[in-house]
Amino acid sequence: MKSTNIYLTSIGTGYDLSNSVFSPDGRNFQVEYAMKAVENGGTSIGIKCKDGIVLACEKIINSKLLVPGKNKRIQTVDRHLGVVYSGLLPDGRHFVNRCREESQSFKSIFKIPIPVPNLLDRIGLYVQNYTCYNSVRPFGIVGIIGGIDDNGSHLYMVEPSGSFWGYSGAATGKGRQIAKSELEKLKFDDLNIKDAIKQAARIISLAHEDNKDKDYELEISWCSKEFTNGKHEFIPIELLEEAKKFAEEDEGDEDEDEEEGEGEGEGEGEDTEMN
């Protein structure tokens, strides 16, 4: 109970009700609560390897009536740019929309596809703006943006505060802790994109442990000079099936090993991470 103390002291003091008001210790609680919305969403990850980027998400299926394979979650911003996010889905749609507008606006002046860092400069500013006014609430998502431009491949993660960082491996959503610890084991410098796809499938399947009571669908997209001509696309069905198979087999192995280490895994799962 001790760790939740900080909330108890601030809840009810009024500093957590508005965006444009700092608490006396210099925090914007609305932004931190937005992070909570993200922590309940399905896991999303991104991997940057030497020859491209891979995005993957654990799409939670809330109804058996939804058409399998449709209602895609990973979206394309421009030919060379993909986005996946965890959190409030409508916020995500708006976020992607804005990414698209910024890309087109850049292109309308400079006539070249927007370089990935440029998009993040713009979109970070936009998301940050939603933390400054009491008439709006911050974005309830963390977005992972990946793509290829003239300088190679890029992977970024944008938070509700508007801050963004470049990553080799990024994870967000409910299973982010497991996903992060798995990503940390990867050797990004040697990883080729086809292996990255398999790893993505495996990591999503492991991260689903945190959300076991719900069904999910695996979505994976990629962006590679060699295989997609620099375009962001969903991976072909054969590759997806292969990756799923790899993840399943691997899980079989894990189950055997896991008996020893299960205890620590649990503890990590609900760790609060508020920054």
């Binding site: 449709k70 209602n71 895609k72 990973i74 979206q75 394309t76 421009d78 030919r79 698209r100 087109q104 292109k107 006539k111 969903f234």
Partner: protein, 279 residues
């Protein structure tokens, strides 16, 4: 006082008399005043660097379209590397004649259309087909002419419709559109259409024509245009889009840097004088 905002703060005619436009030698202002006062805004425009004809024809299981690579600046052949056939989506070609800066603009808005309709759609919905592209362009062209600021082009859209039948349709700077089995713009409508109509007399007749026949007439037309159109070039691009009836798939063939073949000039040596019987 005249309450029309246009006259606010201006000297009124009743007090000061009619304004003398000759001040500052502004003779044409008076003229403008009479001629255009009811128009909100007038954009005069003229094409600067231009591309000449585009010619196209349907055949039994597809279409063929061709345009040369010249960009003329008046009579100066300013550029010889202008690609005037634009691929949109996977099975549509847009051929453009007229102003090249507007051509490049159309190229950009078509790219934007392609991104919006095909790249953003990730649920595998319908993709862009020729009738969609034509409808879009005709709206753009008509809108621009209605704002008195036309895009100075004639455009042919070639591809397949939703029933996988060859589709060929025209739109120009006025927003006028029409369909036909053989379409040509600019000089081509005078010189190439007669040749194309020889092969396909009426719109329905394209089903009796195969690809080789259509291609031959297009090649002949490009040669005649090179002979007789002073703004044409010897090198051209052509595209063929055909439905492979065995596989049911649409095939796309884009040929660049084709040269006008079978030119005949040798007869010139026998021509002397004015061509009358008296020498």
């Amino acid at each position: 006082m005249n309450h029309d905002p246009y006259y606010w703060g201006r000297p009124s005619d009743e007090v000061y008399g009619q304004y003398n436009y000759n001040i500052a030698n502004a003779k044409n202002v008076e003229q403008h005043n009479q001629n255009n006062s009811n128009f909100p805004k007038m954009n005069t425009q003229q094409p600067i660097i231009t591309g000449t004809s585009v010619i196209s024809s349907k055949f039994k299981n597809g279409i063929i379209i061709a345009a040369d690579n010249v960009g003329s600046y008046g009579s100066l052949m300013r550029f010889n590397n202008i690609e005037r056939l634009i691929k949109v989506g996977s099975q549509t070609i847009v051929g453009i004649s007229g102003d090249i800066s507007d051509l490049q603009y159309i190229q950009r808005i078509l790219d934007e259309l392609e991104i919006q309709q095909e790249v953003y759609d990730n649920d595998g919905g319908d993709f862009l087909i020729a009738p969609n592209v034509h409808e879009y362009l005709s709206r753009v062209m008509y809108n621009r002419r209605s704002n008195m600021n036309p895009l100075w082009n004639s455009i042919i859209v070639a591809g397949f419709d939703s029933e996988k039948k060859p589709f060929l349709r025209y739109v120009d700077l006025l927003g006028v559109t029409y369909h036909a089995s053989t379409i040509a713009t600019g000089f081509g409508s005078h010189l190439a259409i007669p040749l194309l109509r020889n092969l396909i007399p009426e719109n329905k007749d394209y089903i009796n024509v195969n690809e080789e026949q259509a291609k031959k007439v297009i090649e002949d037309s490009m040669r005649v245009l090179f002979y007789r159109d002073a703004r044409s070039g010897e090198v051209y691009s052509y595209a063929v889009i055909r439905l492979n009836e065995e596989t049911g798939k649409i095939e796309f063939e884009f040929n660049k840097k084709t040269k006008v073949e079978d030119q005949k000039w040798r007869f010139a040596k026998d021509i002397r004088g004015y061509g009358s019987t008296q020498h």
